[in-house]
């Protein structure tokens, strides 16, 4: 893994959080849902609510690791015309307003079609800081010359409850930015309870890695957010926010509603 030359916004943000003894709040939304223009308002509202990092979905037609809420969001975005170039252009505009760390969250095929290296290059130039490709495990990245991690972006890796200790070591060894621990089996989507064994798994991951560990999959209310924040370096909230956008996408109050929903989640995380 090659180290980037300049400071990365993700690293800088985690350094600040560490200095302040605070946990990170990571918010996921799908770029282009309901439109690319509104995504700029959505990200700014999330920043105002106190989010530390934004995971920005680059929509894919066949998101097999996502549940129905994120799948429908990708459909809406694609129908509204969210092209890969359009998403990169939107990020460039977003950077006129904010320096919040941005992680692109997507599947391999859109990246591959754009050109794997070219995508990294242009996404970084537009202002993205990291990338998480759900269906690109580190094994394939290391075995395909054309999929070698490009230094422009931090490569965020997933670890699952089913990942063996050996595999955790292997993934953690090449981890950059932060590790996303998927706290339960299944696709993305809100859950009524927090999965068990999180603290133990986070401890195993942290023993093998020196990057922060964020935990997600199913967080939808402040109690869950606080519970997870007490066990990890950060909490990821996705589907609950995406659902709010689904319900209020065309409302002029979208930004206010997002603020009202997300602020209590952030506050719960920051109180830990």
């Amino acid at each position: 893994m090659s180290a980037p030359q300049t400071a990365n916004r993700i690293d800088t943000r985690f350094q600040q959080l560490h200095a302040d003894s605070k946990r990170a709040f990571v918010a996921y939304v799908c770029a282009g849902d309901p439109t690319l223009d509104r995504t700029i308002d959505v990200v700014l509202a999330l920043e105002k609510a106190g989010a530390d990092i934004i995971e920005l979905g680059l929509p894919f037609s066949d998101p097999l690791a996502d549940g129905v809420v994120n799948q429908l969001a990708a459909d809406r975005a694609l129908r509204a015309g969210a092209s890969t170039q359009g998403v990169l252009d939107m990020i460039r505009k977003l950077r006129e307003h904010t320096q919040i760390p941005l992680v692109l969250f997507t599947y391999l095929n859109p990246v591959y079609a754009f050109g794997y290296e070219r995508f990294h290059h242009e996404a970084a130039a537009a202002g993205a800081d990291g990338i998480l490709v759900l269906d690109l495990p580190p094994d394939e990245a290391s075995q395909n010359a054309e999929l070698k991690p490009a230094p422009d972006l931090r490569h965020i890796q997933l670890i699952a409850p089913t990942s063996s200790p050996e595999r955790i070591k292997q993934i953690a060894a090449s981890a950059e930015g932060f590790i996303y621990y998927v706290s339960r089996l299944g696709v993305t989507g809100t859950q009524t309870s927090v999965a068990t064994g999180i603290a133990e798994q986070v401890a195993v991951i942290k023993a093998a890695s020196n990057v922060p560990v964020c935990v997600g999959f199913g967080v939808s209310n402040p109690d869950q957010a606080a519970e997870i924040a007490s066990k990890a370096d950060g909490v990821v909230v996705g589907s609950a926010i995406v659902r709010l956008i689904e319900q209020n996408g065309s409302s002029p109050d979208l930004a206010d509603r997002l603020l009202a929903f997300v602020k209590p989640l952030v506050d719960a995380v920051k109180a830990v």
Binding site: D62, L64, G67, T84, P110, Y112, F114, R167
Partner: protein, 408 residues
């Protein structure tokens, strides 16, 4: 003839790559299950007891070996090469799909899984899976696109009688690709108790290799049968290719036989125009879908395109990775037959030989109709009749007679 240098290397490598194709492009949540499946399959295929049990059931329960039938009247009508049909349509449940479903069910027993899920397009893989689940007492859920459920209503009813739960998938174009997505989502969620019997030579490693291996029996038998009958190998093999399992099964045992030409027939739908066909080597591009790197139909942004075929079993945006590799090697040629040509093949084989082929297999039949007359009477063609057409009769009657057979 083949432009490849023979013998071909053994494929795939230990990580499931067929050259630059294939692999394991899956989320981390599935890696443990796929590795476990790979390990168990590796042990099973080296275990004579596993093979003996599979062979016994393939014989007594499934009805192997299937005949290699010389289609005399059709050969005469075509006026060229001698045409043999490999009669996979005579198998229990009506298509080659059960070879793989049975193999994987035996493997699921070894994995200690109690629940089986599968996707299905034409319903043949769903019926085969529901059948082996009934036979071994597995809980069974089949994912099927809503559009496919409508055009294959008979198979939906069969699955229900066999005790399977059939879940309608309404996302996207509601056909095979969406059913695979839904089955994968189920598997990600229930991976600890559930085995996913993928129905074609597709998806992440080890599926393309394992599905091919379970269907190799088709080619192994055909090779012995033609040698016994003609005392020589055939000049040409023809099979339809959706994901490509029946074609891999027939082709694989002949790959290193220099004089044997092979043609895979994709679905040309209404013609090679965007969203009107499912012929990945015509206007497709290299990409990654549902766990594997292969040729697929996508737009410039990598978004998967809609596909169309009269045959639900061929109506899929990606081709199995080993086919992508064989295409690149120049070992197998790929062409397509349109909906109309397939309907022509369907009717001709029914009338001339008294054999109603599945609409999938009718694509291979349609290509033989084109090519056999151009060949010499000394040439031999073996075409894989991968399934029977009973399931397609209602749809074909609508197309050919303009009649709804359920309202007569």
């Amino acid at each position: 003839m083949s432009t490849a240098t023979l013998p071909l290397p053994v494929m795939p490598d230990t990580h499931g790559h067929f050259g630059r194709f294939g692999g394991m492009f899956v989320p981390e949540t599935l890696m443990a299950a796929l590795t476990d499946l790979s390990d168990h399959y590796d042990r099973a295929r080296k275990d004579p007891a596993f093979q003996a049990e599979l062979d016994r059931l393939l014989g007594d329960y499934v009805g192997r070996p299937t005949p290699l039938y010389l289609a005399e009247r059709w050969t005469e009508k075509l006026g060229g090469a001698k045409v043999y049909l490999k009669r996979e349509d005579l198998l229990h449940t009506g298509a080659h799909k059960i070879n793989n479903a049975l193999g994987q069910a035996l493997l699921a027993l070894r994995l200690g899984k109690k629940r089986i899920i599968a996707e299905t397009g034409a319903g043949q893989h769903g019926v085969a899976t529901a059948t082996v689940c009934a036979r071994f007492g597995f809980d069974c859920t089949i994912y099927m696109g809503k559009v496919d459920m409508e055009r294959q209503a008979l198979n939906v009813a069969r699955m229900r009688f066999l005790g399977a739960k059939v879940v309608a998938v309404t996302a996207g174009q509601a056909t095979l690709k969406e059913a695979v997505n839904e089955a994968m989502r189920d598997w990600v969620t229930n991976v600890e108790t559930t085995h996913y019997i993928l129905g074609s030579a597709l998806g992440s490693h080890p599926f393309p290799m394992m599905v091919r291996d379970f269907h190799r029996v088709i080619g192994v038998e055909a090779r012995e049968q033609i040698l016994a009958r003609e005392n020589r190998l055939p000049d040409l093999l023809v099979a339809c290719v959706g994901g490509g399992s029946n074609a891999m099964g027939l082709f694989h045992p002949f790959l290193n036989d220099e004089g044997v030409r092979m043609i895979g027939v994709e679905a040309g739908g209404e013609g090679i125009l965007p969203e009107k066909h499912a012929a990945r080597f015509q206007g497709g591009r290299l990409g990654v879908l549902q766990g594997t790197k292969t040729w697929l139909l996508a737009n410039a942004d990598g978004q998967i395109e809609l596909t169309h075929s009269v045959s639900a079993g061929l109506d899929y945006a990606a081709i199995g990775p080993e086919h992508a590799w064989l295409h690149e090697q120049g070992r197998v040629e790929y062409t397509y037959a349109t909906d109309d040509e397939a309907m022509g093949g369907f009717q001709e084989l029914s009338r001339v030989e008294g054999i109603i082929p599945a609409l999938e297999s009718a694509h291979a039949v349609a290509h033989v109709k084109k090519i056999a007359p151009l060949m010499s009477p000394d040439d031999i063609i073996v075409v894989n009749l991968s399934g029977r057409g009973d399931k397609d009769v209602a749809q074909a009657a609508r197309i050919v007679f303009g009649e709804d057979i359920f309202k007569m």
